[in-house]
Symmetry: D2
Subunit: 338 residues, 4 copies
C-alpha cells in the first residue's frame, strides 16, 4: 500500500501516522519528495482499511498495490483450473464446452426435443431455465421445480449434464438433487448471501458477470464462493450495460483474455443474452471462440416464435447446427477442439 | 402497441399476422404507407409478448405505447402517496424526512451516541446497517441480529423510528420485529425473490435504485412489491455507475423530478453512498432538496476515522448539525419544511 | 510517480531501471517489500512517459501521484478566478451569472424579443446559437454569420453581452468581432486544434464538458486553452452520457463541487441540454445553484413549439420569469446573489 | 412517424393537430384506442421535427419508424460497397485489409523500418500518425507535415498505400497530396465542419467511431460525408467508453455485424486503441475477424519501449508476424482471405 501525503504535512504528524500504521504489523518506508512525502507499507496490509487511512488530515491519496482477490488470482495458482462435470466432460481444458438449450423449460416434450437436437449437433451440456428472474412481475416466471424435474428426465434421455439458474438460497437442496452445474445469474452476482451458501455446495457454479460489474468485482464474487469452500467456479461473460441501445447489452469480449490472465478459472461466453438478437449469436459465438473462450452457452428453442421468454435471441435447432459447424472451424484455427 | 412491418410484407402475411393478433382480444388497425405498413393494436396488450411478435418474418419493429408499470404509475394514482412511519412522522408530504446514522452499527454505545446527536440536529429517523453486503468476503459483514437489537434500544432511548437493510428473505421475521422501515439495497433491487416476499410484509419498504438500473426498471421493482400486496414503497436515488471515477457513483438528481412525475411514490436521496466522499454530502444534499426530494438519508458517525466501513463518506455529528441548518434554509426556499 | 515492480525482478534489472530513471533527473527511492519492490520517484517527472515505463519487463504498475493539469489546478492558484465580462458583469464571484436565450437565432425579431424578455426577468448575458453542430446533415445548421449579426444588434438594444458557440478555428476573427464570450460545445471539447487557437484569443471561453469526458479530461482541455495564453476559461457542466435514456444526458451535479475543489475556474451549469426536457429545467436549475454553481445557461424561446431546434427543452419567457424568482430564493438560501 | 396522444385529448385538438401535420404533405391516419389515440403519418416525414411535435399539449410520445440515415443505409443500397485504394488493394470485398504501422511517425528511419517489416508479414496498408490529438497539451503532438513526408517516402520504398489522421479542415490540401486514405479520429467523429469538408475530397475516408457514440450517430456522421459528395467511407470500430477501467475502452465487436446489417459500408476494427494493452491485440484481432470485420488497423513499432506515444499498445514486428499467421487461419475458417 502506498500513501501519498499532503504537501503541508508536519514532521510530527507524519511520525504519528507512521507509528499508527506500524501497529498493524507493517513496515513503513518514508520517501521525502520536493513537493510531497510518500509512505510505502511493506507486509500484510489486508487488515488496513483504505478509507479510514484516507480520512487522516495529512493524507492526500491511498493506492493499493495488490489485487484484493487471492483464491481466484492466477498469481497464486498459475495453472488453469479444469472442472470435471461428468466422466467425460470438463470445462477449462483444450476442449470448448458447448451448453445449449431453451431460455425456459416449458414442457417435458419441449425440453426433450431441444435436448436431442442440440446433442446431435454437438452440444455437451443442456441449459434451461426453471426459476426465471424477470424484470416485470407480470411476465412468465418459470415452471420452477417442475422445470427441474423435466430437465432431469431430458438428462436421462440424452446423457447431457444440466445447468440451471438458482435465485434464492432456499432452493439449494433442490438444485443439489437435480442439476449438475448451478448457475448464478447476472442480477445475483452480488447477492453475497447466495454466494456464501453456494460456497458450501459440492456442485460446480457457473457465475455470470453482473451487467454493470467490473472485472475486479466479478473476481471478488468468485472469491466469495471459493473462500466459502467451493473452488469449482466457472466465469461467464454475458454483456455489460453501456449507452449503446441497439444491442440489449454490449458483449465485452476483451474480458475473456483479461479474466484468463488475472485468474486461473475457466471463462465461458453467453452471446444470446448479451445481444438479445438471434442473428448476432453466430458472429459473436465465433468471435468468443477466437478470443479464447473455454465454452459457449447458447439459447436454442424448437419454436422461437412461440417461446415463453426471450424468443428473439433463440436459435432454431437448424441454426444451431449450422453454427456448430462454423464453431468447429474457428476452434480448430485457434488450436482448440469442440 | 405499434407494429412496423417490413417493406416487402405480402398482403396474405399481413392478414395472417392481424388475425393472430386479434386472437389476443385486441383490435388491429392497419395503416398502409408508401414504404411500409404499420399495425396499431387497440385494447389490452399486456398478454402479448413483444419479443415473440418481433420474430415474425414480416415485422421490422415493435413499439410499446404504455408504461409497463401500473400500480406504481401516477397515471392511475394522481395524488402523492404519503407513508406514515409513526404517529408524527411520514414521508411524501410537505415535510422532508431526514434519516441519519452510521453505515454500520458497531456497538450499543456508538449507535446510542449517534442517535442522540442526529436527533438533536433534527433527524427524524435513525439509519444503521446490521447486515452489510460487502464486495469483498474479507471485509466486515456487520453485527447482524445483534446490530438490530442495538438499534431497537437506540430507538427506545430517542424515539427515532429505525431503517435498516435486509439482504435475504430468510431474515424477514427478524426485521418485522425490530425495524420500522425495511431497506432493500442497490445490489438487491432486482432480487425479485426478495421483493415478492417483501410484498407480503406490513412495513414500509425503502427501495434503493440499482446502480445500473434505469428509471423504468426501478419502477418495475417497486411494482413487484406493490403487486405482491405492499403499497408502502419509498424510492431512493443513490447514484448510478458511469465512466466517471472521481466519485464512486454519479448521483442522478434528475431522477427525482422524473420519478415524481411518473410515479406517486415518495422519493428520497442518499448523497453519502452516491459520492463516497464526505465533503460532497453537503452540496449534494442541498441540491437534492432543491430538486424536490421528499427526504435524505445521510451517514453520520461519531468517529469517521475509525468507522468499520465507509468512514470516508460519513459526516461527524458537528458536520451534520451544520448541514441541517443549511438544509432548512434551502427547504424553505422551495416551500418545504424539515 | 510510484512504480510497482513484479515479484521476480532481479537485483540487476532493478538497478538498470533505477539508473535509466535517474537519467531523467529524478531521485529514485527503492522500498523492498516481502512480495514486491516499489520505486518512488522524487523530482519533476513530467518528462517521463508512464506507458513507456509500464513496458519494462520488471514493471507491474505505474501510478501517478500528481494531477496532470497545472495551470487549471487550484493547488497552484488557491483563490477563485473571477472573470469580468463587462464593466458590471463578472462570473466566478458571489453573484450567480444567468445566461439565457434561444438554442438558435432565427431572426432579428426573435432574438430581440427573447433578449428583452430575459433581461426583464433578470438574465445578465444573452445566449444564442448561430453555427449549430447537428448530428443529422439534414437538420437546420444555423443562420451562421447572419445570426451573430442579429445577436450583436440585440446586444445594442438591451446591453446584454452575448455568448455563442464556435465550431471551427476558421471563424475566430468573426467571433472576436461579434461576441463577448466564445463557447466551445461538448462535441468540440477535445478538438485540440480549436482549443489551441482559442488560447490566443482575448475573449473569455465558455468550455462545455464533453458528454463522455471525465473531470480530469475536462480540466486538461481547459489546460490547453490556458497554456496557449488565455486564462479566462469558464467551465460548463451539461450532462454526461449514461445508460439512462429517459433524459437526453445525465446531469452530473457532483461535478460542480468537485470542479470547484480541483480548480480555481468558475463553473456554470446548462440544465436545458442536459435533460432535453423543459419541465426538468426548473428543478435542475435550483439544484445546480444549491450545489454551488457560479452560473446557469438556459434556453428560452418566445415560441418553443415552433423553434427550429431543441424546442422541447426551451422555456417560454413566462416559465423563465417564474424560474428566476425561485432561483433567487435558493441563491439567497446558499448565501449567493443573482 | 407514430404520434401517441394523451388520454384527455379533445376531438377538436386532434383535428387541429392532424391538419397541421397534413400541411407537411403527409397523410395522417388516426387510430382510436380505449385509452388513447394514435396518429400514423404516411409519406416523407423528414421535414417534421420530432421535438416540435412533442411539445404539442395533446402529444404524449413521438416515435420514428425509419432510420435517419439514407445514403449510408443498406435498405437503399443492398450490395456491399467495395472501396478501391490502389490498383490491387480494396476494402469491403472478400479479402481482409490489414493496416499496420506506428502510432506516431518519429523519423524516416523508423517509418521505413516498420513499413518494410509489416509489409513482409502481409500488411497491405501503412498507418502512421503525423498530427496527433493528445489529451494533454504537454504530450508529444506529432511531427506534423514532416511526418506525412516521411510516410510518403516509406510508401515509395514499399509500395504500401498510407492512411493518416487529419485534425483540422485547414490541412485538407496537404492530406490530399500525401495520403491515400484520410482518417478521422474518434474525437472528431462529430466535428461536422471537418466531415462536410471531407465530403468534397476524392480520397477514401476512414471514419472512427467516437468513443461515446451510438451506432446510429456513427452512421449519421458517415451520412454527413456521403451527403456532401464523398461516398467512399470506411467505418472503424475502436472501442467505447464504459464503466470498466481495466481496458482503456471496451471493444464493441457486436457493432461489426450490426453495422454490416444496417449499412453497405466496409467495417474495420482497431484492437490496439480499444484496449490500450499490447497482449490484448492478438485475441481481439482474431475475434474481430471471426465477427466479420473487413479489415484490421494495428499499431506496430520497432521499439515499443521507446515509442513517443502509445507504446503500451504497440506490437513488435515479431509479434505482428505471429499475429498475421493466426489471422490467416481464422480468416480461412470464416471463408475470408488476408
Amino acid at each position: 500500500m502506498i500513501i501519498v501525503l499532503k504537501e503541508n504535512a508536519a514532521k510530527q504528524q507524519i511520525d504519528d501516522l507512521s507509528n499508527q500504521l506500524s501497529d498493524y504489523g507493517v513496515k513503513v518506508h518514508s520517501i521525502e519528495g520536493t513537493e510531497t512525502t510518500v509512505l510505502g507499507l511493506v507486509g500484510d496490509t489486508s487488515a488496513i482499511d483504505v478509507e479510514t487511512i484516507r480520512l487522516n488530515d495529512i493524507v492526500d491519496k491511498v493506492m493499493k498495490v495488490s489485487e484484493p482477490y487471492k483464491r481466484a488470482n492466477r498469481k497464486f495458482h498459475p495453472n488453469n483450473t479444469v472442472i470435471d462435470i461428468s466422466d467425460d466432460i470438463s470445462i477449462g481444458g483444450n476442449k470448448i464446452a458447448i451448453m445449449a438449450g431453451p431460455c425456459s423449460v416449458e414442457s417435458q416434450e419441449q425440453i426433450n426435443a431441444v435436448a436431442k437436437a442440440v446433442k446431435s449437433s454437438g452440444a455437451t451440456i443442456l441449459r434451461g431455465g426453471a426459476f426465471k428472474p424477470r424484470s416485470s412481475p407480470y411476465a412468465f416466471q418459470g415452471l420452477k421445480s417442475e422445470g427441474l424435474l423435466y430437465m432431469k428426465q431430458a438428462k436421462q434421455l440424452t446423457g447431457l449434464p444440466i445447468v440451471s439458474e438458482i435465485t434464492n438460497p432456499y432452493y439449494i437442496d433442490l438444485f443439489n438433487e437435480y442439476v449438475d452445474i448451478i448457475q448464478v445469474g447476472a442480477r445475483n452476482m452480488q447477492n453475497f448471501e447466495l454466494l456464501k451458501e453456494l460456497g458450501k455446495v459440492k456442485k460446480p457454479i457457473l457465475l455470470k458477470r453482473g451487467f454493470s460489474n467490473t472485472i475486479e468485482e466479478f473476481l471478488m464474487s468468485a472469491e466469495y464462493i471459493i473462500s466459502s469452500g467451493n473452488e469449482r467456479v466457472i466465469l461467464c461473460e454475458r454483456g455489460i450495460r453501456t449507452f449503446e441501445t441497439y444491442t440489449r447489452n454490449t458483449l465485452d469480449l476483451s474480458a475473456v483474455p483479461v479474466l484468463k490472465k488475472m485468474s486461473h478459472l475457466p471463462v465461458v461466453v453467453d452471446p444470446s443474452h448479451a445481444s438479445g438478437i438471434y442473428w448476432l449469436v453466430e458472429p459473436m459465438s465465433l468471435a468468443a471462440v477466437a478470443a479464447g473462450a473455454d465454452g459457449l452457452i447458447i439459447e436454442v428453442h424448437n419454436n422461437p416464435k412461440c417461446a415463453l421468454c426471450d424468443g428473439a435471441q433463440s436459435l432454431t435447432p437448424e441454426n444451431f447446427d449450422d453454427l456448430m459447424k462454423k464453431v468447429k472451424l474457428v476452434a480448430k484455427a485457434v488450436s482448440r477442439e469442440v
